[in-house]
Symmetry: C2
Subunit: 435 residues, 2 copies
């Protein structure tokens, strides 16, 4: 049986998971492809012996020595982060190795450089595991939806953030407490910034948008707001309005410009994305021909991510075997078709809004606030004013009809400067429609 030789860079959680998936599923994959995937070497920065059943596999500490192995067909980069991952990936490509990576940060910041190098060297770069862990969303975008203009992408793409929001929703606990608990359970990193501030989600949105639209996207194109300022009171008011709060990546395609934003969002509770709980991930895509598609699965974890990494390895192995490298372009469009497209300014957004004003209770407060909103063409759909106590700070919560982001920013600046408000107004955008 034809053997395809694989080397893994980084034998941490995902690296060892990938090795385990290759090992456990070797026979099944051979029966599916006639090919045997063989883990040949591992690159680790410090010399070590791998645990069983991988103890016999040589561990190499030099990337140059690792790449010099002419038997090696595919290099799998699983150390994450920028450096030395970028250098290692570029060296592997320069040595003529195909590359598989789960590194969304690397791809979203250096993707174009990597894909150009790969095109020149005529090697493949697989990255299914970089978005949505085990979910086959990259393949769906590249092949299953090939006959579609992608009109929108909405995704729950960070398991930690979704776990925290779900737990806050179910238990009514505050953000800091749930984060601490998630850290103790190993669901959240010691430094959770990338996860809770939406940066990891934005990395993944950059990758999805690149493929959906065949365009160059930079991380700085994405408007990013995290979930660390969400309070239990917002979650319970959202519930009262029939919504769940989710950290969504959203991109709508307007033809000559496209939206790119990550922020907490009120999702109607009858929308499937509202039902995605715990650490699970999901992507909702609207294609002009297929309509709505949703894919759901584990967004992270050793074996789910390993499953996606190995699917990429097998895809490339089949192409090596059949002599059809880059049968499907890495970014779903031919390299020469990847162009520039404008990003819709956030100020052009129109959607309904949730506002929570912190006000000093007293006569005329609601009238003052709604007056300013009205001057900015912001119409109120409903108001909840609870726990009135003269002279104390009380919340006024509103759900608006569709309004202009630009007007909302102006209106809130005016309102927050008033003496009757005691803190910055909390503003959360509301999802409408399925596109």
């Amino acid at each position: 049986m034809k053997k395809i030789y694989v080397g893994i860079i980084g034998f941490g959680t995902v690296g060892s998971g990938t090795a385990q998936v290759m090992y456990d599923q070797m026979d099944r994959m051979a029966r599916r492809s006639g090919l045997q995937l063989v883990l040949k070497t591992v690159l680790e920065q410090h010399p070590q012996t791998l645990p069983e059943p991988f103890a016999d596999i040589p561990v190499i500490t030099s990337i140059d020595e690792f790449c010099q192995d002419s038997d090696l067909d595919i290099v799998v980069e699983l150390i994450g982060g920028m450096e030395p991952a970028l250098t290692f990936v570029l060296k592997a490509i320069a040595a003529g190795k195909h590359v598989v990576t789960a590194n969304k940060a690397l791809l979203s910041e250096h993707g174009m450089e990597i894909f150009q190098a790969a095109a020149q060297a005529n090697v493949e770069v697989g990255f299914e595991a970089s978005v949505g862990g085990g979910m086959p969303v990259i393949k769906a975008m590249k092949e299953g939806l090939v006959a579609n203009r992608i009109d929108s992408i909405m995704g729950i793409l960070n398991g930690t953030a979704n776990y925290i929001l779900s737990k806050m929703t179910n238990d009514g606990a505050p953000f800091a407490e749930v984060l601490k608990e998630a850290q103790d359970l190993g669901f959240a990193e010691a430094d959770p910034t990338y996860d809770v501030e939406g940066i990891d989600t934005a990395h993944k949105l950059v990758i999805l948008m690149t493929m959906a639209y065949g365009m160059k996207v930079k991380l700085s194109d994405v408007t990013i707001e995290g979930i660390s300022k969400i309070e239990p009171t917002d979650i319970s008011f959202a519930k009262a309005f029939g919504h769940r709060i989710k950290l969504l990546a959203i991109s709508r395609n307007h033809g000559d410009h496209v939206e790119a934003r990550v922020h907490p969002t009120l999702v109607p509770e009858d929308h499937l994305l509202a039902s995605i709980g715990g650490p699970m991930n999901s992507v909702h895509i609207h294609g002009d021909m297929v309509g709505d598609i949703l894919i759901y699965g584990a967004g992270a974890g050793k074996m789910p991510t390993g499953s996606a990494v190995v699917a990429d390895i097998m895809d490339i192995a089949r192409n090596i075997d059949r002599g059809c490298i880059n049968r499907v372009p890495a970014l779903s469009y031919l390299p020469e078709e990847i162009g520039e497209r404008a990003i819709t300014p956030l100020s052009h957004l129109r959607c309904p809004y949730y506002f929570r004003f912190s006000t000093v209770d007293g006569p005329g407060v609601l009238s003052t606030i709604s007056g300013i909103l009205g001057q900015h063409n912001i119409s109120i759909e409903s108001v909840i004013q609870k726990g009135r106590e003269a002279g104390k700070t009380v919340p006024i919560v509103m759900h608006t009809y569709e309004a202009s982001e630009a007007e909302v920013v102006l209106a809130l600046a005016e309102i927050d400067a008033l003496d009757i408000t005691t803190a910055d107004t909390v503003k959360i955008r509301v999802l409408t429609g399925d596109k």
Copy 2:
């Protein structure tokens, strides 16, 4: 640009939809693949002129003449049903044409014959559109989940049945009334038997199981129960127990034997499948590495189905262009690896049950029924007994703990033979766990 020539058999809803998708997306697909898909001929039984923009495309009425066109690369069968579809597909294969079909009935009954002929002729057979319309579930099963043992499949695979059940749930209307309305709206066929009696769902389950397990499956392997006996009262009692009634295709993998069943099922309302409303389809798959995956989309319709058909055409076009026909085996395992596996007898099933007994109200009725259940080791989790009226038929509704199907059948036979019951007991299986 390289052209790939396509012929369509049957220019009905899906046939014209496929032509439209190819036409509308031609430029986009060229930018994604460097290939141009060209609709060259249409086979229709009666001579006719096609509507714009297809009026110039020749309509041929003879399959032999159609297949003799040596330019034709791919033949797309979209007439549905058994004959002449089977003959046409086999003739196309014999003429060395690749085939794409959306015909689940044909594949589930004659799949092995078709795939063997295709393997001999070294042509491809694509069938993404045969299950779940536009959802890329076949590709996920063949490629995205290649590194997984599939442990279970649960699917809502018939849009008509799901539309009817959703409508009954939302409106409380009886089956016959909702069916009539669905027929008037064009959501249900004049003869809805295949859809509402679970046969169409079973066709799709046969296809999914074949690929998931690499085994031969026959339609007669599947236990099939439809939804025509579901009453609004069952739906509202199910709601009271926190469930929705869905027509599910279910297969669990027990290693040396696998389940194969289609029946109405009580799905816990916090399960994602409970949220799949209207005519939408969804497949929930558990892989041993990836865990739970769910894919959701339009299960039918002109353009969604066309989207999946064209994805298959493009997949084969890329393989023609790159000389890598059958790069991925049609049934996900190599032909020689497709084996036999036992089907779990339904009597071996264990699950919780929903029962609705039609009883003559009177003292001792509940005690008699629960006594018989107890003798068969069936434990009751909860009982609802409503609208007592001495001497009249009243429902007693129960939710049991996990029980044996064999014992349930025996117990219900005893109970239904009693004078205190006035009609056959309604029995609906309850879904537990995610696998």
